[in-house]
Amino acid sequence: MQFMLLFSRQGKLRLQKWYVPLSDKEKKKITRELVQTVLARKPKMCSFLEWRDLKIVYKRYASLYFCCAIEDQDNELITLEIIHRYVELLDKYFGSVCELDIIFNFEKAYFILDEFLLGGEAQETSKKNVLKAIEQADLLQENIDFQMRLFAGCQRSRDPAQRAGGNRTDINIIFIAIHTPPISQLLCCM
């Protein structure tokens, strides 16, 4: 895999992971082009497309597009399931993940990805093992941070708006519903 991008329906980049060396300028150009191309595609179209000399594999989960660029020899379907497994991992870690979780805890999204994919290849495909690794890391800090977290009021709320730090109404909060087909069953909370 050459890179992975997560972006919203509005075209906002939420996560970018590059497995080949590229300049910042090139990365921006690629991102711009791809986001445009993928957003222009209609639902029900196939999840693969040729782009430059790469194959793009993408899938939409609620408001987020997950988009991977793979090489000619790589397997499209297994890449589609890499995306799904990553979404499952995020979902399990955050508990019904939504776009806001990824915005506010972007560093976690990167850490989870690193445990799952490294150098563009699947490193550990067992969900249990990946989550165990992340939890272990979290535990290392749990005791020290516990007090601080209570103090800072960062206890996770079930209400995504509160999770986002306020009862704001302008944010498009949508759970990434992974166990149901996307699009048709968005769980809109507001």
Partner: protein
């Protein structure tokens, strides 16, 4: 899982992110960010030492700002500091920042490497993993140099934790991709291959990727992996899905690992050992059988994972191309998918079948699906799927179905998406030519192409139809009649006017007997289009007119009147004016005999490969196009070829069997067909390549590369990493115009794969005393020693001039200088100690031995000049990295002058012998 945010809450970060999200405009966002940057800057600069938490928070904010798309130019030091924190989350944020914002600042790299080194040595698996992830994410050369020898040890050590092994394997894979020269596998090979037997499936998954990458480069070293991979695969495909516990994904046993193992096997031919081979065949059969079983789950994840393995198995079957039963079964399976309700599966089936079509065993089986594929072309709603259908039709086309496939493609072309029209046009043109038995069909097809998609018919296509008509006298009359009819349409495409003008100019006499297409009618028809056309087409039409004068004396007066009109003789365009004047004079003064000789029918074109196919290849990129001339095909294609040759030879002196030969065409002037006066249609005979000034450009980028009485060629060039741009200035030293000016760059076959040179088109005319600029874009793909040649052709006062100049694009142009300290230098010097890596040359000084001049030359050569490295101050020491697209090659050099003997000794060490050799040749000529 507890519903508590894991790890650490950073309140300040959350507030900041909320603020950014609240910004109503881009300006507001930038304002908020600048405020935050100022705040962080002052915190970092402040006297009060920051605690780890604050440092982490601010670094994390910077990271967020960077990921939003803003530039960050500070905070690297603070991030590096976090690496040495003993708090995990602080360390983690530090690593994340470094992974995302790599900086080539060498001081920092040293500190980062130090942090990594400590964590690698910590024996704490969590810390070791962080360090390995960072190396894998950054993957820079510096890191490869520091850790490439350490990581294999971690990978195969008996006491390494499984999770660390996994990270180490993929870390090594990444380093091998970026700096293969620095990852010595030798002694570790056997133990790495043995990881395929590991108990832990996660380790096997990671190791399989690594072994595949290594096996692609050195298949022989990893041959033993084949039997282990087959054994492992066999255990997976026969296991009950429950056996593999968490590695079972939606009832599919270890799909990722299966795909990777099948991929690894594609690095090798079918196993020779009979037992192993039958075991593998069994595996593949089992996978094919499973596709027929009812699904164990309705979830799309189940079918995707299952089919991912199936497609990879089919890819392996096609790669082996040795088991007819498996190939046919694969084809039938894909045939089922062609009508599947999942768009994704239809897409992949079309794609996969494309490669299947090129196997002699399954070509016929693929053809049975033609109707389905044609239907897909008509009904698929997704353009990317239709594109695959076009590709497949192209791949399955042969003599038996060519007419139908070409007809379907033509009818699809009428409604095809703009983005793929040009490609379809090329494909139709190639198929029509390749499978034409009856050339009238070919002519009809191409004229249809122009009618339906004239804008997408490139020069190559219409040049080609003219070449074929000229070379085949059995089709000339038909072609003349057909173009004449096509031109009757009130609005016809300019490309049709070009083809029509050319063909009627040559063969109009063949239909002139019919009063409906008498010479005058033909002329009036052509001339009615004249005013709607662009200058090059008008020029071509003028040539057709003068040819008419020769063919039909009865219209001479009419045509002379046209040529004599002010709109021709005083045309603002010089080319048109000149043609009008010359043709008019020619028609007035030349006798009929002379006229007939000058304007004789064009001789047959020399055998020439189809530039269309080359163009299609270029468009699709290498490897994307099923190779039509694949040797495998010749088994069932041989009869067609011979019969093709027979028919061709009967009617023409030239065979077209090499029409699809992929060797690029000899470069010919772009005006080849427009210019009927050209003495011969063959490209001008090879001229001597001027290389006299070539060596002068080794150490400099600008200057005059060629000069004669007529023309001066100057160069300005700039290079960055593996890319370069060269500005070529053509100065006309005379007071007369150069006409039909063309310049192109050609490379030897070997050089073509090593260096890409793309030249922009130039104006065909340079005024007297004027200068014209041409831009060449250069990309170095891998190391090379040849140089491209610039071919220039132009007409000066009627005489055709040919000039060829060796272009000074040398390997050292892609140098990036590297500064390093004495200690580093000698360490690396020792590392590059293998005998073939060093090249030494002792030679006599050709120029006065001046220290400053020598320094300037070494700097100009592209390397950094290192002071204080060599104990003898009279010696010069340099270092640099040659950047190519595929790899980077570090280079160290030392030049020792001996003033008394007037000699130099030059020593070069690089990791690649061909590079050492070439650089030494180049540099030693300079002193």
């Amino acid at each position: 899982m507890p519903a508590v945010s894991k790890g650490d809450g950073m309140r300040g970060l959350a507030v900041f992110i909320s603020d950014i999200r609240n910004c109503k405009s881009k300006e507001a966002e930038i304002k908020r960010i600048n405020k935050e940057l100022a705040n962080i800057r002052s915190k970092f600069k402040g006297d009060k030492a920051l605690d780890g938490y604050s440092k982490k928070k601010y670094v994390c904010k910077l990271l967020f700002i960077f990921l939003l798309g803003h530039d960050i130019d500070f905070g690297h030091m603070e991030a590096v500091n976090l690496l040495s924190s003993n708090k995990y989350t602080e360390k983690q944020i530090g690593y994340l920042f470094i992974s995302v914002l790599v900086n080539s600042n060498s001081d920092l790299i040293r500190l980062i490497n130090n942090g990594i080194k400590n964590d690698l040595a910590s024996r704490n698996p969590t810390f070791m993993n962080l360090a390995l992830h960072c190396i894998a994410n950054v993957g820079s050369r510096e890191m490869a140099e520091a850790f490439a020898s350490e990581i294999p040890r971690v990978l195969v050590a008996g006491d390494t934790m499984d999770s660390v092994k996994q990270s180490a394997a993929l870390c090594l894979l990444r380093l091998n991709r970026t700096s293969p020269d620095l990852v010595p596998m030798g002694e570790w090979t056997a133990r790495v291959v043995h990881l395929l037997n590991d108990q832990h499936l996660g380790v096997v998954t990671a190791a399989t990727s690594l072994i595949t990458t290594l096996a692609q480069k050195n298949p022989d070293d990893f041959k033993t992996s084949v039997s282990l991979a087959v054994a492992r695969l066999s255990r997976i495909v026969t296991s009950a899905s429950i056996d593999l516990q968490d590695y079972t994904y939606y009832f599919v046993a270890a799909p990722w690992l299966s795909v990777k193992l099948l991929r690894l096997l594609q690095c090798y031919p079918p196993p020779e050992d009979a037992a192993l081979r039958s075991r593998l065949t069994e595996c593949l059969e089992t996978i094919l059988n499973k596709a027929q079983e009812p699904p164990k789950s309705k979830k799309v994840q189940h079918s995707n994972a299952k089919n991912a393995v199936l497609f990879e198995a089919i890819a392996l079957i096609i790669h082996h191309d040795s088991e007819p039963t498996l190939l046919v079964r694969a084809c039938n399976q894909l045939g089922q998918f062609l009508q599947h309700r999942e768009t994704n599966l239809r897409y992949l089936a079309l794609e996969s079948m494309c490669t299947l079509a090129s196997s002699e065993f399954s070509h016929e089986a693929v053809k049975t699906h033609m109707e389905t594929v044609i239907n897909a072309l008509k009904t698929e709603r997704d353009v990317s799927v239709r594109q695959r259908a076009v590709d497949l039709l192209y791949a399955m086309c042969d003599r038996s179905n060519a007419k139908q496939i070409v007809a379907e493609m033509l009818s699809y072309l009428e409604t095809a998406d703009y983005s793929i029209r040009e490609e379809i046009v090329l494909k139709v043109a190639i198929l029509a030519e390749k499978y034409a038995v009856d050339y009238t069909w070919y002519v009809d097809t191409i004229l249809n192409l122009i009618r339906i998609a004239g804008d997408y018919v490139s020069e190559e296509v219409w040049y080609r139809v003219i070449q074929i008509v000229i070379n085949r006298d059995d089709v000339q009359g038909y072609a003349a009649k057909t173009v004449f009819e096509a031109l009757q349409a009130p609005a016809c495409h300019e490309n049709l006017v070009k083809v029509g003008g050319y063909i009627l100019g040559e063969f109009g006499n063949l239909i002139a007997g019919d009063s409906r297409s008498s010479p005058l009618v033909q002329f009036n028809l052509l001339h009615s289009k004249f005013h709607l056309c662009s200058v090059p087409t008008r020029a071509l039409l003028l040539s057709a007119y003068i040819k008419f004068i020769n063919l039909f004396p009865e219209v001479k007066a009419t045509i002379q009147d046209v040529l004599r009109s002010d709109s021709q003789l005083r045309n603002a365009d010089v080319e048109l004016q000149q043609r009008a004047v010359e043709y008019l004079r020619l028609s007035c003064i030349a006798s009929t005999d002379i006229l007939a000789t000058v304007l004789e029918e064009m001789p047959p074109f020399p055998e020439r490969e189809s530039s269309i196919l080359a163009k299609l290849k270029k468009k699709k990129g290498p490897g994307k196009l099923p190779d039509m001339d694949d040797s495998r095909r010749s088994v069932n294609g041989s009869t067609e070829h011979s019969e093709n040759t027979d028919t061709t030879n009967k009617s023409s002196t030239h065979s077209f069997t090499d029409v699809l030969n992929l060797n690029p065409a000899p470069s010919s002037g772009a005006n080849l067909l427009i210019d009927v006066f050209s003495e011969s249609s063959a490209p001008a005979a090879a001229t001597d390549v001027s290389e006299e000034n070539f060596p002068r450009f080794v150490c400099k980028n600008n200057g005059v590369i060629y000069e004669n009485q007529l023309l001066q060629i100057g160069l300005k060039s700039e290079y960055r990493q593996n890319l370069g741009r060269m500005y070529v200035f053509y100065g006309n030293k005379t007071s007369t115009q150069f006409l039909s000016f063309s310049s192109s760059v050609s490379s030897s076959d070997a050089l073509k794969s090593q260096l890409n040179v793309h030249s922009k088109a130039v104006d065909p005319m340079i005024e007297g005393g004027a200068q014209m600029q041409q831009i060449l874009n250069i990309e170095c793909v891998s190391d090379f020693s040849d140089a491209p040649v610039l071919n220039i052709q132009f007409r000066y006062g009627g005489a055709l001039q040919n000039i060829a100049v060796k272009l000074p694009v040398m390997l050292n142009k892609f140098f990036q200088p590297t500064e390093m300290m004495s200690q580093d230098f000698f360490q690396r010097w020792k590392q590059l100690g293998a005998p073939q890596q060093e090249v030494q040359k002792i030679f006599k000084a050709k120029h006065p031995m001046d220290t400053e001049v020598a320094k300037a030359k070494i700097l100009g050569f592209g390397v950094a000049l290192l002071d204080g490295v060599d104990p003898n101050p009279a010696n010069f020491v340099g270092a640099g990295v040659v950047h190519t697209k595929t790899t980077q090659v570090g280079c160290l050099l030392r030049l020792e002058p001996n003033v008394q003997a007037q000699m130099y000794r030059l020593t070069l060490r690089t990791s690649r012998d061909s590079v050492s050799q070439r650089l030494c040749e180049l540099l030693s000529e300079q002193f």
